[in-house]
Symmetry: C2
Subunit: 298 residues, 2 copies
């Protein structure tokens, strides 16, 4: 069964990722092992990953009207993401980050965002051809519009509940049909650790809820039953965008109508492979690669 | 007296400079106070600074054939630098760096260079309209050609002797008519501290020699007399490209035929003002600003 287009909504920025033997410990010059410039941010990384995993994706995100935006849009267009909904804010600067990463995937991140980028879009998203909406927490006014519009159209309204202010999270949670939260965001909202937090989220917001806990796998609630899906064991070298690959796999399985257990195993396997590859979202595997690791004996 | 065009030769890369409250001390995220993307590298920063200081400059440097090169060339063209001699290497990537800088100007620098960029240019530089040549140590085969061509044409052949391999420095020093060396490079070549090193350089290579020592000013040899020019005292917040501004002032004064004492006071004052401004070479002052600080009581 194939699904339609997944519209992702939120963060979009240009990252330059420098792979280093070790993070700098003070002033000085360090020659990197490798370096890549990659347009990502959560929603953008999710959209590109959905396409790599065999789905269809469109991005609703906000940029400046600068040359960086041109390169960001060109990169995502080349990945096969539908970029027709991108907003360009006159006079604003597109977001960008420098990321130093060591061999174990530990990072120093310096992100630069122009607040003008995340102003109210003033319109609801175009849902023509869209089968599901997935929003992150970085463009809250667009996220609220997108979740509400999706619910109004009877579509899955997925919230990537990563760490944000409690106010932002609590304004988005009631609008979602599906919540996939990070451990830290779940703790902020519920005051509990992952297994208890996911139960609290599902009950409080009457949604499907999952909480990701990195190498410890993810907890989710099936009806009223707490479930746990382990993460495949891998030697992680770059966890940047691993959460986005997980969310991409989740949304894809959902719109393709798989059993929820399979959706979460697929998302976990995709994220695990990503962790073994340098380059943020560029490390997202193909569907064949994910299915390969799912069939392998653990 | 006005001079002709100064051709600078060597480093050209895109720096992204993030100004931070403090350098990171381990993994994590740091929000910058400010951030700029600026095309610099020694030779490029020198060329742009020469124009800001009221002179004429052309750049001979090597880039990839990527979009970064387009932006780099556009930035320097907008500064008024003659960019007709830029070499683009097919299939190569332009150099770029991420720089984290604290409030005191201390930096963590991660530069990424494609070795293909610094291959032999295969031709000597076009010296049409050129009044002096100034080379750095980052594109040695071009630097050797440029110094030799300048000497052959009876023009000043200035070497910015910054830290490089002893082999590179020793291949360039005999070709120069004027050497302005950093403290560390002078120490590498002579084994001595600045005041003794500058005397050794002047005698060994029979050139005009100066050695810069940051806030301690610069040492130079006038005929056979050791001279010292103090640096104006400033509260430094960004020393990035201060050496390039110094070299720009030096080359400009030289082609305009000023007394050497005035040349070095001008270069020192220009570099001192630059140190008070964030943004690498973007902090280079105008000639009026330099002359203002030179007239001020110290």
């Amino acid at each position: 069964m194939t699904g339609g287009t997944i519209l992702t909504v939120g963060a979009f920025a240009m990252d330059t990722i420098f792979r280093l033997d070790a993070l700098p410990e003070g002033p000085g010059k360090v020659i990197p092992l490798d370096a890549v410039e990659v347009a990502e941010g959560m929603a953008a990384a999710q959209a590109a990953s959905i396409v790599r995993l065999g789905g269809k994706a469109a991005l609703w995100a906000s940029t400046g009207d600068d040359a960086t935006a041109d390169r960001m849009v060109a990169q995502l267009t080349a990945e096969g993401v539908d970029m027709r909904r991108i907003r360009r804010v006159p006079g604003a600067r597109s977001g960008f980050s420098a990321i130093f990463m060591d061999r174990a995937g530990q990072t120093m991140i310096v992100p630069r965002y122009d607040p003008a980028i995340t102003s109210d879009p003033g319109v609801d998203p175009d849902l023509d051809g869209v089968a599901a909406v997935m929003v992150d927490v970085r463009w809250p006014q667009a996220a609220r519009r997108a979740l509400a519009s999706a619910r109004g159209a009877g579509l899955p309204a997925i919230l990537d509940a990563d760490l944000a202010s409690a106010e932002t999270l609590e304004s988005l949670l009631p609008l979602a049909t599906h919540v996939v939260a990070s451990e830290s965001a779940a703790r902020l909202v519920t005051g509990r650790e992952p297994a208890e937090a996911v139960v609290a989220l599902a009950a409080r917001y009457r949604v499907f809820a999952a909480v990701t806990a990195g190498a410890e796998g993810c907890y989710w609630v099936d009806g009223t039953t707490l479930r746990h899906t382990p993460a495949p064991r891998v030697a992680a070298i770059d966890t940047l965008a691993a959460g986005d690959v997980f969310h991409a796999g989740f949304a894809l399985g959902l719109v393709e109508g798989w059993p929820m257990d399979e959706v979460l195993r697929f998302a976990s396997a995709a994220a695990a492979i990503k962790c073994t590859r340098f380059g943020g979202r560029l490390g997202c595997p193909s569907r064949d690669e994910v299915e390969g690791i799912m069939r392998a004996p653990s």
